[in-house]
């Protein structure tokens, strides 16, 4: 579908993804630093949480979920929702074993 608006400058197209890329690289650096930090039992949770933030940034800005229709956002959310159910059912078993 052709777009009749005048084409934007290259800098306008590259700028926003480049900014998100910088954020993602900073989060990655923090995540690797956290992996070497003496955080004890919290370390892996911190690593996973930072990866989660990266995934959200990639989804919202690189995959344009911010602009998507509600239906497509729902589709994207189902993957996550079913994964949560899978983990809840598995660990309601393993974590409660005597």
């Amino acid at each position: 579908m052709s777009n009749d608006d005048p084409p934007p400058r290259a800098s306008e197209l590259i700028g926003p993804p480049a900014l998100i890329l910088v954020y993602l690289l900073v989060i990655l650096a923090i995540n690797v630093a956290a992996a070497f930090a003496p955080l004890g039992g919290f370390k892996f949770s911190v690593n996973l949480a930072l990866a989660g933030i990266s995934v959200v940034l990639i989804g919202l800005f690189f995959m344009d979920l911010k602009q998507e229709t509600p239906l497509n956002r729902l589709f994207a959310a189902t993957g996550l929702a079913w994964l949560v159910i899978l983990f809840m059912l598995i660990f309601s078993d393993y974590l409660t074993r005597a």
Partner: protein, 218 residues
């Protein structure tokens, strides 16, 4: 709406759609549904990882300690740059005047994907030399470490397979787009392919944490 707006006569319009806007909506819904189900496919692997990590934390830490952070980290950076390039390509694709610009970014994304595979190849080579492939010669005696590496090979192998398919799709996009510039402007394939590429990056972002980070500090 004019005939051109509906995409009539466009090479990008496919059966059963009568309008390109509807085809675009359906294609985007399709790729999101596909990504969600693929996420669950990898989700089964994540769940297996979580259970075995819970059962043998020491083995998983020692296994993860033997992975090479320099390879994993450089691959993560390469793939982040690649999906940023794909995002630029998808944005630019809708303007006929920017077709060449957009396809240049598709090629950048695909070449970074190839760089990822090359780095992965070096890593696999080093892993095999260190006897980190599960089997009778496996290097780490701690219980659970071999399971960690079974996860490592299966998960990274499946991810690499997705990446190879993605590189093929990106190349197809750039080649067909160069031959048929109007098709490139009209088709939802550009968005669909770059969304798939973003999904491949999402999976790697999670795998990076599961594989390389648990065994770093004691």
């Amino acid at each position: 709406m004019s005939r051109a707006d509906r995409g009539e006569g466009s090479a990008a319009l496919r059966e059963p759609w009568e309008e390109i806007t509807r085809q675009r909506l359906a294609s985007l819904a399709g790729i999101w549904l596909f990504s969600a189900s693929e996420f669950l496919f990898f989700g089964g692997i994540f769940a297996g990882y979580a259970v075995y990590y819970y059962l043998w934390p020491q083995g998983f830490h020692e296994g993860s300690h033997e992975t090479e952070l320099k390879f994993g980290l450089s691959n993560t950076v390469v793939l982040l740059f690649s999906s940023a390039a794909a995002a630029v390509a998808a944005k630019a694709a809708r303007w006929p005047a920017l077709g060449g610009f957009s396809r240049a970014f598709v090629w950048i994304a695909a070449c970074l994907g190839l760089a990822f595979l090359a780095i992965k190849g070096l890593e696999y080579h080093s892993d095999i030399e260190k006897n980190l492939f599960p089997g009778p010669l496996f290097a780490i005696p701690t219980e659970g470490a071999e399971v960690f590496f079974a996860f490592y090979w299966v998960a990274t192998g499946l991810h690499a397979l997705h990446l190879i398919i993605g590189i093929g799709l990106l190349a197809r996009l750039a080649v067909t787009g160069a031959r048929h510039p109007q098709w490139y402007v009209d088709t939802p394939s550009v968005t669909v392919t770059t969304l798939y590429w973003g999904f491949v990056d999402v999976i790697w972002t999670i795998l990076f944490v599961l594989i390389y980070l648990p065994g770093r500090a004691s």
